[in-house]
């Protein structure tokens, strides 16, 4: 496309000329190791997954159209799992964004020992998953520390892992593990806000809230999106802990899509599994589409 106008992230328009042959060769060369790997290990087999989702079983290869998808959407444990996973991500991701921004602003404030605090908040990243699981058991077991505290206050103990509170326990675990890293992302973004803009606002007698809402949030918008993406990835990874805490068949409200897929995998029901994987994939594509759109809309105007 010779002469087509491109805009860099700095807002500078430039004309991009047709790539030279050498450039093209180079560009393919640098990408190819990664691209070949991704094609072989993820993309091509995914077409086989699509094929599996469209036939009735791997032996007779009878084409059944969307039957597998209809079946799985009507499957009550799939519905339960999808609902739980969606609820968890919808609660945990925004909470992670808001709380880590709050922590970052707390540390940005004038308090001593900033770098020590930063290290403390990052420390959960180092704890092995299995050890997190042990400690969560010590804390939230029916006979655990939290319940002991509650009974001392003359209240009824709560069966944390086997009641409607179970998602709360996992949300706490997720936040504890991920806030630190999100926080340093926000701290970096906060320190990158040009001071003169804030000073002008102060001179114009803007309140702290106005400065936050009209200035800081504008500058932070792309970081917010980035943190949201990382948190979304990590909200799926929390399955490790859930799995180790509660096993294959946890309490209803902890039954995640990952449980469903793990169990289906184990029962070798490839049709169900493939259909579920494809549905999940489609949903994720929509989510990413929204994120990309949000970035185009809000993310770039104050960047750079």
């Amino acid at each position: 496309m010779p002469g087509k106008k491109y805009v860099t992230e700095d807002g500078i328009e430039y004309k991009k000329h047709r790539m030279s042959k050498k450039d093209k060769k180079n560009s393919v060369l640098y990408l190819s190791p990664s691209l070949i790997g991704v094609l072989v290990f993820f993309v091509l087999p995914f077409f086989v997954v699509i094929y599996y989702a469209l036939v009735d079983n791997p032996i007779s290869h009878q084409f059944v159209g969307i039957d597998n998808f209809v079946n799985i959407l009507q499957n009550s444990s799939f519905q339960q799992a999808a609902k739980n996973t969606a609820t968890f991500s919808l609660v945990a991701v925004p909470l992670a964004v808001i709380l880590s921004l709050g922590l970052a602003m707390l540390l940005e404030g004038n308090i001593p020992m900033k770098s020590q605090f930063r290290t403390f908040f990052l420390s959960p990243m180092m704890v092995p998953v299995a050890s997190i699981v042990l400690i969560w058991q010590v804390l939230f077991d029916y006979n655990g520390v939290i319940n002991q505290f509650i009974t001392n206050l003359n209240m009824q103990p709560i069966d944390w892992f086997k009641s409607s509170y179970s998602q709360i326990v996992i949300v706490i675990l997720f936040l504890w593990k991920n806030l630190g890293y999100n926080m340093i992302l926000f701290m970096a973004a906060l320190s990158a806000i040009p001071q003169d803009v804030l000073e002008v606002a102060t001179l114009e007698s803007a309140t702290e809230f106005q400065k936050f809402w009209y200035i800081k949030l504008r500058y932070l918008s792309s970081t917010i999106l980035f943190v949201a993406i990382l948190s979304l990835i990590n909200s799926f990874k929390v399955f490790r802990e859930v799995y180790l805490l509660t096993g294959d068949y946890p309490y209803d409200s902890l039954y995640m899509l990952q449980h469903f897929m793990n169990n289906t995998f184990r029962s070798l029901d490839y049709q169900k599994l493939s259909a579920a994987a494809i549905i999940m994939c489609l949903v994720m594509c929509v989510v990413i589409g929204i994120l990309f759109f949000a970035e185009d809309r809000y993310g770039k105007d104050v960047e750079g």
């Binding site: 491109y6 860099t8 992230e9 991009k16 790539m19 450039d23 180079n26 560009s27 640098y30 990408l31 990664s34 691209l35 290990f41 993820f42 993309v43 087999p45 086989v48 997954v49 922590l103 707390l106 540390l107 004038n110 001593p112 403390f120 990052l122 420390s123 959960p124 990243m125 180092m126 704890v127 092995p128 998953v129 299995a130 050890s131 699981v133 400690i135 010590v138 077991d141 006979n143 002991q148 701290m187 970096a188 320190s191 792309s222 999106l225 399955f239 490790r240 799995y243 990952q258 995998f265 493939s274 994987a277 999940m280 994720m284 594509c285 990413i288 949000a294 970035e295 993310g299 960047e303």
Partner: protein, 302 residues
């Protein structure tokens, strides 16, 4: 004027206290793990027996006759500092060291090669743009966001076709091509000013020289931070080995640790502490990178 000063001081004290409370609660599990690793198994049983001793049997089939407190005891300082758990782990049973080694030979190649391959891909995404490029990048982002259970099916199929199931390659190869670091490095590299690359070109640098002499040095921080993130993620892997490696001898310590019998909680804490050493070392060395390397972050598409 004076009153204002007092107010600011009070505000500062309150903020510090709030930060301190948060920080302590964040640090607590780490401290607890380390503290518990120095307790004897008797003491662990006394403290946590109510929770973990439902089975009341150790892995050797003996009945546990230790005294068990009625209530769970959260203690940060052992009654008596003992290294018995460590001596069991390090001296008496070679299996722990073996699993530790398993972890190392799984994770190190993944981190090293994933970053090498990602650097090339990121460079390509930065230097050359176009419709197809953007679509490929979208696929990378989509893959990165998928839970492991979605990519598990394709991974498993390929491992089966290549006859690498039950070998370490079935974990290492998909790990090497995982798109996470491609995404992060692309984001960082796209922030490199065009003018720098143009300048290098005018000086007669070819693509390879721009890549190795301009881009990689500029990305030192991001490379370090991506390496830390990828390392910590794979160091704690649980699902992959359980599915790909039916031979438990090849399992990394992260899996083994999660399967330690509940009668041996004390041992588990000691193993966990040992397992924490590499992440802590990497962290101490790389924390600055983790913080600096990230400061250019932001945006989904990069």
């Amino acid at each position: 004027m004076k009153r204002k000063k007092v107010r600011i001081t009070i505000k500062k004290v309150i903020l510090t206290l709030v930060a301190l409370i948060f920080a302590i609660s964040f640090l607590l599990p780490t401290i607890l793990t380390i503290a518990n690793s120095f307790m004897s198994s008797t003491e662990i049983n006394t403290n946590y027996g109510v929770i973990f001793n439902q089975y009341k049997e150790t892995s050797y089939g003996e009945r546990n006759t230790d005294y068990v407190a009625e209530k769970v005891n959260l203690k940060f300082i052992p009654d008596m500092v003992e290294l018995s758990q460590y001596s069991t782990v390090l001296l008496k049973s070679p299996e722990y060291l073996l699993k530790f080694w398993n972890s190392v030979i799984l994770v190190v190649p993944i981190v090293v090669f994933q970053i090498f391959i990602a650097l090339g891909a990121a460079y390509s995404f930065m230097r050359f743009r176009g419709r197809i490029r953007e679509i490929i990048f979208f696929v990378y982002v989509a893959l990165m966001l998928m839970p492991y259970q979605v990519t598990l099916v394709p991974n498993y199929l390929v491992a089966d076709w290549l006859h690498i199931l039950d070998t370490r390659w079935s974990i290492i190869l998909p790990g090497i091509f995982a798109p996470f670091s491609v995404y992060l490095l692309t984001k960082y590299m796209r922030r490199i000013p065009e003018s720098l690359i143009e300048a290098a070109k005018l000086d007669g640098a070819n693509e390879w020289q721009i890549f190795t002499k301009v881009c990689i040095p500029l990305c030192k921080g991001p490379i370090a931070s991506v390496a830390i993130l990828v390392f910590i993620d794979y160091w704690n892997m649980v699902e992959q080995p359980l599915i790909m490696l039916s031979d438990a001898d090849k399992h990394p310590l992260s899996v083994f640790l999660s399967q330690i019998n509940s009668g041996e909680v004390g041992l588990a804490f000691a193993v966990a502490t040992i397992y924490m050493v590499p992440p802590i070392l990497i962290f101490l060395y790389g924390e600055e990178y983790l913080v600096d390397g990230i400061s250019y972050s932001g945006g989904v598409k990069g």
